[in-house]
Amino acid sequence: MQTSLKKRLEIIIEMPAVPRLEGVLEKAGVKGWTVLPAKSGRGANGSWSREGQITNADRMMMVLAVIDPAMLDTVLERVYALLERQIGIVMVSDVQVVRAERF
């Protein structure tokens, strides 16, 4: 099956900042993404868990976007500009996709 190389961008970011991140992705021309919920975690800022929580301040979400390698640098820079001030991490890896024109 014909596949092509894309970049898989994964951003674990605090929930209140997700709409802002989505704005950044949209402006950077990213065509699609998926937000996955996380349940708990640990990092430099301590540990957190969603059990019984009523505030959205104290939780992380995972935003996954498959993008074209040509866009990577622009997207990464803009995302990082946001991430610098918010709690979160960014990962980039390689993926193969079918229907390359969609990304």
């Binding site: 301590g46 059990e51 019984g52 009523i54 505030t55 500009a81």
Partner: protein
């Protein structure tokens, strides 16, 4: 009723005991937990019920000037208490400027859950307070944040700049005003007001009869979350900060007593205003500050508001405030 009778009546009521059970369960590292979706639904239900009931009571009573006075005094309290809190923190702790402003914002604003528990206790103690106190609670959510952003000063402004993600104070205010719990509180209040006693009759089994039972389940959850938050993050709380979490409510309550007396509130409403002033936000403000003041470390303010001040108010503060409120208004013995 003397203060001990009041304290005891408060302490051995099912809601408070379920809160204590939650704390204990957290401390013995039980895996008891309420799913997040349920905790959120319980808080939505309680906010909706308290708003609706307040509105229905408004519809039943007369609209007087004291409503305006109470709302105004709430706004003033919310706007000025952060200045006091910020000053105390800068004087007595080593917390940085931005974190101090963030914490002060929590304490100027209000905890709707504490308000709900106080409303229930007030009914229990037979000094229920006026329906319009719901509107006062809603009015007190946001002003504290504006003050805190001003207090955070240049540091915050600098970081609010660059990269185009900056938030103007106005947009932060908008965000707070559109916060789910505030919209629901105000909306339910107006619906209760519009539909009045007839509307209330139709939904009373849901909004009234099971209210206190649901509150038990919710406070169980709050106990679990408060206890686990403490276990997880107690290291970020230095003694000075913990002290602040205990005396700031008292300062707030006294300030609330002063303004409340000035606008002539009855004992129940005064107790509620004192509780509002004494309480610290942990739904709306923490989320808003992650955008408006992301440099503030959320672990400190959240742990303090939920792990120290909320239990303190629930267990000791509320009966104290209502005892004081009855005393200064000269309400029956």
């Amino acid at each position: 009723m003397d203060i001990f009778t009041l304290a005891e009546a408060n302490l051995i009521s099912p809601p408070i005991l379920f809160f204590v059970l939650g704390l204990i369960a957290a401390f013995v590292r039980s895996d008891l937990s309420i799913p997040e979706a349920i905790a959120k639904a319980l808080s939505l239900y309680l906010v909706m019920a308290i708003g609706f009931k307040g509105g229905a009571e408004m519809a039943a009573g007369d609209l007087t000037w004291s409503v305006g006075g109470a709302i105004l005094s709430g706004i003033v309290l919310s706007a000025l208490l952060p200045v006091l809190g910020f000053g105390m923190l800068m004087l007595t702790t080593k917390v940085g400027r931005i974190d101090a402003a963030a914490i002060a914002a929590h304490y100027g604003s209000i905890s709707i859950v504490t308000f709900i528990a106080a409303s229930d206790a007030a009914r229990f103690l037979e000094t229920p307070g006026e329906g319009f106190m719901v509107a006062v609670a809603a009015a007190m959510e946001a002003p504290a944040i504006v003050t805190a952003l001003i207090l955070a000063g240049s540091a915050a402004r600098a970081s609010n700049g660059g990269e185009g993600h900056g938030e103007s104070r106005l947009s932060v205010l908008k965000e707070i005003a559109a916060n789910g719990s505030i919209v629901l509180l105000i909306g339910a209040f107006f619906i209760g007001w519009m539909t009045g006693p007839r509307g209330m009759e139709a939904v009373s089994p849901f909004f009234n009869d099971i209210f206190r039972g649901v509150l038990c389940l919710f406070l169980l959850d709050m106990g679990l979350v408060a206890g686990r938050g403490l276990l997880r993050n107690w290291r970020v709380l230095k003694p000075g900060v913990i002290g602040f979490g205990l005396y700031m409510p008292l300062i707030g309550a006294l300030a609330g007593m002063g303004t409340g007396l000035a606008v002539g509130l009855d004992a129940g409403s005064l107790g509620l205003l004192m509780t509002l002033a004494a309480s610290a936000s942990y739904i709306a403000v923490p989320a808003a500050l992650r955008l408006a003041l992301p440099e503030a470390r959320p672990a400190i303010s959240l742990t303090l508001a939920l792990g120290i001040t909320f239990p303190f108010n629930l267990v000791a503060g509320i009966p104290l405030y209502f005892w004081l409120a009855r005393l200064v208004t000269g309400t029956g013995g």
